[in-house]
Subunit: 499 residues, 2 copies
């Protein structure tokens, strides 16, 4: 069947096109992705015997693959459903660590990859910094600039989330030093000493981050990451300031006074740490923060908190960088999570990756390098044209199918269902929280959480874990109420069976 999907030109998603695909199963609700499965269908526990055999095979050449969950038949996966190596069909509410915007094998994306006009991008990997393709400016506009955060008009594509953050950091350091020089060019001493990692060219500057933050696995990103030991152990890092991220009580609206106080406590610490860093001679050039701490446990803060954070940054001459690698591209119901905050001015840098298919960062006029700065934010590939082609179509589908609205509707259904279960089982579930379908809920402890995640998987539902005891939901933007209803039914059974 799917082979046919790959060989028939698929037009824009309409009913008439959808009827080209015959399904063995019928779907009650009109699906946003044609030819989805009707429901999970399990044949073996997960990982099944074939996944286990493949795991041994991969371990022989890749080593250290305890992190593999199971092997996937991507050809057979469709929409919100992932099919594993053993033929199990699972509803995927985690979507490759939140990286699949339109579900699996979306026909529009297949069409993009089959379009002969795009073949040159598929087989010729350019060094975009030196030799961009003639269609690159237009593709950057259509794919990236068309969804630029409000007030931001520049973008630098990159390869992955960590690279995006690393280069976003560099843009911040450059802007900080540029301001310090007051328009003068760097001195010869600065240029020469930089090559030897010495002052003044390689300055003592820092970036402030937060407890439980996760920003990536390369060295500067790791220096700002404060989640789990296995992300960090044995790696040299910078001793940069780390402020407490607010620990709020949920539901937020019921604890506003306590939460405001907690946020104020954290904001005071931010200001205090910035002053200390200045005195120590390692001033804070930028504050780096996730809109919702994801790996760290789906920790929320209010719009007020981020507005105040921006004020502190500006007061201290530091940039504010929002790491939207996991929150960007729609899962909170707005394209960018920071759009929920009503910031009076845009952030200075916004990084992205995952659902966006490509890494990169947006930046403001103030962050714009000068004409003397060419080759300073640079590497060989600076992105990948095939990913921008996919992103362009992802954005088309998000707009034409009103997927942000779908996220809001599906998210309300998910949060409503989970809140109901939490009210019914207050000793087993707590802290249901979320924006759109970017949702999490806490079990009593990590062991119980892990058991529920595993049991759900064996029943055909993939969810993620984060923090100490949270389950996180990261469905595709095409996840609908009927998918969530199936999950909630199963989740209730799991909760009922807990001691």
């Amino acid at each position: 069947m799917l082979r046919r999907l790959y060989s028939v030109p698929v037009q824009h998603l309409t009913k008439s096109v959808r009827s080209q695909f015959t399904s063995a199963q019928t779907i009650d609700v009109e699906s946003l992705v044609p030819n989805e499965y009707e429901a999970p269908c399990m044949k073996t526990p997960v990982p099944g015997p074939r996944s286990k055999a493949l795991c041994a095979d991969l371990d022989d050449v890749n080593a250290n693959i305890g992190h593999v969950h199971f092997f996937v038949n991507y050809e057979a996966s469709r929409g919100n459903y992932i099919v594993d190596a053993d033929g199990n069909v699972l509803l995927d509410l985690f979507t490759q660590i939140s990286s699949v915007p339109l579900g699996y094998n979306h026909p529009n994306l297949i069409q993009v990859m089959m379009d002969p006009n795009n073949m040159a991008s598929l087989v010729n990997r350019p060094a975009f910094g030196n030799f961009p393709s003639t269609d690159w400016p237009e593709t950057v506009r259509n794919a990236l600039i068309s969804v630029a955060p409000p007030g931001m008009r520049y973008v630098q594509p990159m390869m992955c989330g960590a690279c995006s953050n690393e280069h976003g950091y560099k843009a911040i350091f450059m802007a900080y030093q540029r301001n310090k020089r007051g328009g003068l060019p760097p001195t010869q001493e600065e240029m020469d000493s930089s090559v030897h990692n010495m002052l003044p060219g390689s300055p003592k500057l820092s970036l402030l981050s937060f407890t439980n933050a996760f920003h990536g696995r390369t060295t500067a990103c790791l220096s700002n990451t404060h989640t789990k030991w296995f992300h960090k152990l044995d790696f040299p890092t910078f001793d940069w300031p780390c402020a407490p991220f607010p620990k709020l009580r949920y539901p937020l609206e019921e604890f506003q006074r306590e939460n405001d106080a907690e946020e104020d406590r954290c904001l005071e610490q931010v200001q205090d740490l910035m002053e200390k860093a200045e005195k120590k001679g390692e001033p804070v050039a930028g504050i780096v923060v996730e809109p919702i701490q994801a790996e760290g446990g789906d920790n929320h803060a209010s719009g007020r908190f981020f507005r105040e954070l921006q004020k502190i940054a500006k007061k201290n001459g530091a940039a504010l960088m929002i790491d939207e690698v996991q929150t960007g591209c729609g899962p909170t119901g707005k394209f960018w999570a920071h759009e929920h905050w009503d910031l009076p001015q845009p952030p200075d840098v916004v990084c992205f990756s995952k659902k966006m298919q490509t890494g990169g960062f947006y930046f403001t006029e103030e962050m714009k390098p000068t004409s003397a700065d060419s080759y300073r934010i640079f590497n060989t590939w600076m992105g990948d044209p095939t990913k921008l082609l996919l992103l362009r179509e992802v954005i088309n589908v998000i707009k034409s199918q009103n997927l942000l609205e779908n996220v809001v509707v599906a998210g309300e259904h998910l949060q409503g269902g989970l809140s109901g279960l939490q009210r019914a089982h207050p000793n087993k579930l707590e802290n249901c929280r979320g924006l759109g379908t970017f949702v999490a809920i806490d079990l009593r402890n990590g062991k119980m959480r892990d058991e529920v995640v595993k049991s759900l998987r064996n029943e055909g539902f993939i969810v993620g874990a984060c923090g100490e005891r949270s389950i996180r939901f990261r469905p595709a933007l095409v996840c609908q109420k009927h998918h969530i209803s199936m999950f909630l039914d199963q989740f209730e059974k799991e909760i009922l069976s807990l001691p």
Copy 2:
């Protein structure tokens, strides 16, 4: 014409298939890529008016693009010839900073991207660490393990060169600390302190690199990079030890005694710096080195130097990591440049990217993480399946067309021609050097070099610059004698016209 190339299934490269493609021009010599242009063909200076207009367009959304050389019509580019936005046809001896193994629009790569069996890889971007595809182990074997450096049997795919180095470094740090613990698990104190970037969990460890080294643009890579100020200025880095890289005299065989002495001087410094680092409490966990320093000026060292370097690393309990990002995948006439050295044991880590299409690193049994180390070398994507599919076919073509042998033949022709010009113009050219087609030659000074590079481009020949005054050649593996003869003819004219 090219549209036809993209829509007709192309079989393995044979004469009968090549005759499917009618060329308006005839090629005297049998080309390794069908339907190549016959020679450069220039209509405007480069960048031409259309490139300039596109540059203004891109600058409006990307900013800071002084590094753009010209815009490329990738669809019209073929084999060794790149076609720019203004319709100029140029012989490309730089190939996207050494990143194009088979030239442009190679029919075998087009076929891979058109194969419906590969469509699932094109439209479904997996988080390989958690959810690998069923064909992943086999693809990793066929694409990466089939060309593993001698004695190395494990590989970790990554996204780009810098990420590959960063994670290779992490593997080295982990192995170093694992050895230090003597088989014991990390202590609770180590685990807890690592999250806060504190000792002992975030240890004071260093990596030793060399003057003029280039290892990438992320923070740890930058700490090991010592090329030009604009790669480094304003960015905080680690103050890690940097040893002198040998400054050899060329041709190497004529100056063996002087060069041996220079290498010994550098090796002594390495040992000395490692002792100093140990005393300072920031021991060297690994030595990181390029087989031929590329960005730094195409600086060579002998096999003896690298064998001695390996001895020093072993004696001091440090790993030896070879950064083959630019040298790997054949341009030196062997698949890996370090195969020229007759190392008694394999290096501990070998990193790659560029021509390999994907980033990643090979590692030895000693570097292999334990089962307790899962999720420590990890990120969301850990490579890209589409790039491994391309690499698999690149390797097929390299083998079936004996491209390493072609590189040796073409390289002898290039080096022979340049040496002849150098002998004829000793006051203008010096230091011709190279392995295979990985070749460089020096002009009298940087200004003259820049002028020659620019003039060559306007005549239809792309070469690269590196170091202070070098021209570097990085042709595709399908570059042949007849291409090089055309270049040499033009190069002689340029040299003759120099004052």
